[in-house]
Point group: C3
Chain length 226, copies 3
Amino acid sequence: MRIVAADTGGAVLDENYNPIGLIATAAVLVEKPYRTAKISIVRYSNPFDYDLSGRQALKDEAFLALKLAKKVKPDVVHLDSTLGGIEIRKLDDPTIDALRISDRGKAIWHSLRKDLQPLAKKFWEETGIEVIAIGKESVAVRIAEIYAGLYSVKWGIEHGLEKGFIRIGLPRYMKVEVKDDRIFGESLDPREGGLYGELLIEKKDFGWQVYPNPIARTFMVFEIRV
Amino acid sequence: MRIVAADTGGAVLDENYNPIGLIATAAVLVEKPYRTAKISIVRYSNPFDYDLSGRQALKDEAFLALKLAKKVKPDVVHLDSTLGGIEIRKLDDPTIDALRISDRGKAIWHSLRKDLQPLAKKFWEETGIEVIAIGKESVAVRIAEIYAGLYSVKWGIEHGLEKGFIRIGLPRYMKVEVKDDRIFGESLDPREGGLYGELLIEKKDFGWQVYPNPIARTFMVFEIRV
Amino acid sequence: MRIVAADTGGAVLDENYNPIGLIATAAVLVEKPYRTAKISIVRYSNPFDYDLSGRQALKDEAFLALKLAKKVKPDVVHLDSTLGGIEIRKLDDPTIDALRISDRGKAIWHSLRKDLQPLAKKFWEETGIEVIAIGKESVAVRIAEIYAGLYSVKWGIEHGLEKGFIRIGLPRYMKVEVKDDRIFGESLDPREGGLYGELLIEKKDFGWQVYPNPIARTFMVFEIRV
Ligand SMILES: [Mg+2]
Ligand SMILES: [Mg+2]
Ligand SMILES: [Mg+2]
């Protein structure tokens, strides 16, 4: 099975370790044995001007996933919304009302589906590929999350080299290491069976540190100081 | 404390990684230090003709656990239903209604108890051994789950050698390795403190692979191809 | 960020692995990189005369945390109650009623706040340091929990040397090792990013064992036999 998935993650943190805004949306192509991405692409946000309360992330993820899917023609596209694997093109209002999710979740999807349903329907009509809301059940979505963390660190290195310092909150239970010209990241949850990712970067000289976010257990911080 | 426990697990998967039917019920005898089974027995189902929606598993588990318990006379028998450790022989209808579980759980137990309560009561009268519904709190139940996975792999090897290919979904966060004449399995959750199991098999030549189930995060797949 | 946190843990277990009473409350000072304590202090309870149903623990934790905080002047004090990081000094009755917690949780806090709110308010007026209810989100609270386990083992060694045997239930997913004149403990959850602690003890000769509590999955038992 060839899967395209997308997720958003990595946040600039303030001095009290609270998130200011999200950094990166990543889309990945994942193939058997489903442990890392064969291809990844990124779309950066402006973390210093980000509406954390909004629902922009899932839209960005859908658009970026379809951009990659158009190129690599996977068997299926996975989005990070845990609705039991339902096809997005079938999400009309009565179907949303019948979902076993919270009222708040329903309100969000009544609004989201205005953009996402036509998008998924058109993509399915043109390619036969389904876009499904599978969320945390998907290994591919988790790999996209790890890549969102890797791209956030890549952005952080560039930002830090310019400004002298940056503190980034990584996605849930993952760690990263900078080795010469590569950023290596992996899940800290062994139950996931060894998920990881890697990005090439330009080799530069700087100090970095990874440590637990003191106010968000199981989340790590990446910090760079030049 | 000497504990007998039983659980069902391991599923034949279709080409989309969805379960077709369950493979094995295992009963185990677990003794201090509670990391593996001293004795294990198995009862195989027909995964190609299995009612996944049914409640057959827990009945199979109770019968198999009592079969082993009659032989090894443990201090207690653990079943995989998380009801806070209540004695099955005491599960009459008013007691079930008073449990803090969902209405669906109550309906299931009103039906299940017709078989299980008399069974547990008779066993307790004859032996003084309690059969309790402790479920996910029990380390012995988890070890039975790991053995259900091991027996499923053993079945899968035989089936695969005959048919050329089989894909099996293992129980939650466990991995297996085939080494010469043994199948070794262990929990992928280090919080469980190192639970594992082992089965002897006839040494044969075949290729196998273990990797994450892409649509069921924290579940691994075992695949054999001859 | 310099954090003082406190937690209670470690229980004497009976022969069926059920808790009789809690052993130790620990307060810790945690500094960047937030993986262990720089300073720790302890207050022992009498586990053989302990009201497990009571709410004494959180009061003990608040008093011990403030005792340490008065000395080391941290930036913030973390208590083990998961209320989203709300300041204890602001917990008046209408605020408690507006919390998104269970009715039972509200009843407990209506009673608890009579002691804790004036305490936190006075401390804040004198020092400017906030005492917050952050609970399981806090890495510092988890480190305090690990130290409560270490102090429980220290108590257990002394008790065991005197009485010949003791069985202690450690806090959730942590293990301990006794090495000459040190007790080393660490989290078994790698998602936490490597949390650990260490206590010095007098070097003595005794046998000890750590193994899973068979009726409390993810909890380990420490046992000493002389
Ligand atoms: Mg997401
Ligand atoms: Mg089961
Ligand atoms: Mg606590």
